[in-house]
Structures are given as C-alpha cells and as structure tokens.
Symmetry: C2
Subunit: 175 residues, 2 copies
C-alpha cells in the first residue's frame, strides 16, 4: 500500500466528514494531504471512487471497534455493543453517521453505488447484532438506540448520552 494513497484516504475522510461530500473539493483534499492532484487520480478513478473506498475503510474500523468491545468488555452482549459504540462516538463520530450523510447527499440517484453501499452497511450492522445471539427484534431495538445516540451526540454532551444509553439498553429483551 502506497504512503501517498494512505495520506489521501486519511485527509479526505477528515475533510469529507467535516464539510460534506459535495462541499469539499478535490483541490482542498490534495492540499491537505500534501500531494499533487494527479497523484489522487493515479490512485482513484474519481471523487466517487475515493468516497466509496473511504466508506469501506470506515466500516471496517467501526466493526473492529465493536468486535473489540465484545471481546474485552464485561456484561450482556447489548452492554458490550453499547460500550463499543460509545467509544466510536467519542473518537470518530461527533458529526453524525458518515454513512447516512453519504446516503442523504446522493439519495436522489437511488441506484448510485454510494447509496447502495450505505443500505448494505446498515443491513450488515443489524446482521452483526443477530450473529451475536440477539433476536431480530432486539437487534432492531439496539440499532435504534445506537443511531439515536449518534444523532443526539451532535448537539448534546456525550456523558449525558452515555448515561441515557446504558439505562435504556437494559430494557432490551431477547424475546
């Protein structure tokens, strides 16, 4: 893996997340990453291609954080997953869910690869909960709580959300 390519992915993710996908230009990205514009086009087919790869990387990061929490934390599976998600909120998600933001900005083209990728990610999320001994009902309930915490964290302080989330997750029953 090329070093310049890695720099591009890191800086592009930061800028896309801070400003939005349409709002930020490729010129700003290459300047922030310290590479030439042609280097970007040497590694990626297009802006859309770059965004797709960023979302793929971000999905891996998110699930690896959840899996780490499942491995290391104590308590119920729901509690472990909440703990992992809160860590994600604190480290990488103070400006909303990047997947939903991509879907929102490109949803006017329903078959757009970016939009399909977001639907796939959200399905994958619930399936991951189900693969951890949770019923479909419980998985959807947990998903609702986690999505809610991500949105709330944009305007409320994270500690209050953390407290609220831990309290509410106790009510999820595997029926």
């Amino acid at each position: 893996m090329s070093r310049k390519r890695e720099d591009l992915l890191v800086h592009a993710e930061k800028l896309f997340y801070e400003h939005g996908f349409h709002a930020i230009g490729l010129k700003a990205i290459v300047q922030d990453a310290g590479v030439a514009l042609m280097t970007l086009y040497n590694h990626f087919d297009s802006k859309e291609d770059l965004i797709l790869e960023i979302l793929n990387r971000r999905e891996k990061m998110y699930f690896s954080m959840l899996k780490d929490a499942v491995r290391k934390e104590e308590g119920s599976i729901e509690h472990k997953l909440v703990s992992g998600h809160i860590q994600w909120l604190k480290t990488s998600a103070s400006n909303g869910c990047m997947f939903l933001r991509a879907k929102e900005e490109f949803s006017s083209i329903p078959d757009h690869p970016l939009v399909k990728s977001v639907y796939s990610h959200k399905e994958k999320m619930i399936q991951f909960f189900e693969s951890n001994e949770m019923s479909r009902t419980a998985a959807v309930q947990l998903a609702l709580l986690l999505e809610g915490s991500t949105s709330l964290a944009e305007t409320l302080n994270v500690q209050e959300i953390e407290k609220t989330l831990y309290a509410m997750v106790e009510n999820i029953k595997n029926s």
Copy 2:
C-alpha cells in the same frame, strides 16, 4: 406574503432536503420554483438567509405536528409524542433530520448562524418534552428514541420502526 416567495420556500426546501445544501444551486431552485433568479434575491439576502428561513418554517411545522398529536391522540404523553413524530417521519422526513444535516454541512464554522439555529432547535425540542410533564431524564430518553427512529427510517421500512418505537417508549419512566 408574496406568492412567489412562498413558491421559492417550498421548492427550495424540497431540493435542499433531497440533495443537501451545498449540492444544490440557486439556479436549480429558481427553475424548479418557476421564478427568476433576481426574484429570489429580491426576497432573500443570500442562500444562507434562504436556508435559515426554511429551517424556521420547518421547525414550526414539526412542533405543530407534535402539538396536534398531543391534542388528538390517546394514551400517555410519550405515546402521543411518538405518534406525532411517526407522522412526521411518514410525511416529511424520509431522508434524515434536516436540522442535523444543516449542522453537519456547516459545523466547520462553529459560530455560523445556521449551526447555532440547529443547536437552538434541539434544545427547544427537549424543553418542549419537559414542558409536557416529563422529567429531564425522560425527555432525553424520548429524544434519543425519536432521533434513532429518524435515522433508522432512512434504510429500514417505517412499519418495523413504528412497531419498535411504540414498544420501546413504554420503558420510559418519569423518575
């Protein structure tokens, strides 16, 4: 109130919501509304000013829908509010919360009037819950559920979310 002005607000809200604030241009808006570009600048100082007014209108619509539900629905206050929010989801929010999307696109300028307007809106939301005989704890819990349902509704079918939401709201206790 001018007719052209009203047309502009309606069509601009639709396009901003479908594409995002940076993604859509003023030219597309005036074409969709069927007015001249200079008519837009006759009624609004700038694109930012137009967005601000749209968010103000949208806030009024949302709260009036909640208040209608409180007035007409049966059951607990939480149940009534959930019912109002679900109606909002079905009629006007299949692409996420427009306020959060505004905050996300402009959050890189923390003192931006649009960003402050969004923070204000979310505070107002929780205060509205509190003004309906709910404790702060219960209000934040309900906010988390409603925000979660808005996000989930972007990729999941609304009926499943509705069922989930009604089930989870029963657990909110006014402690």
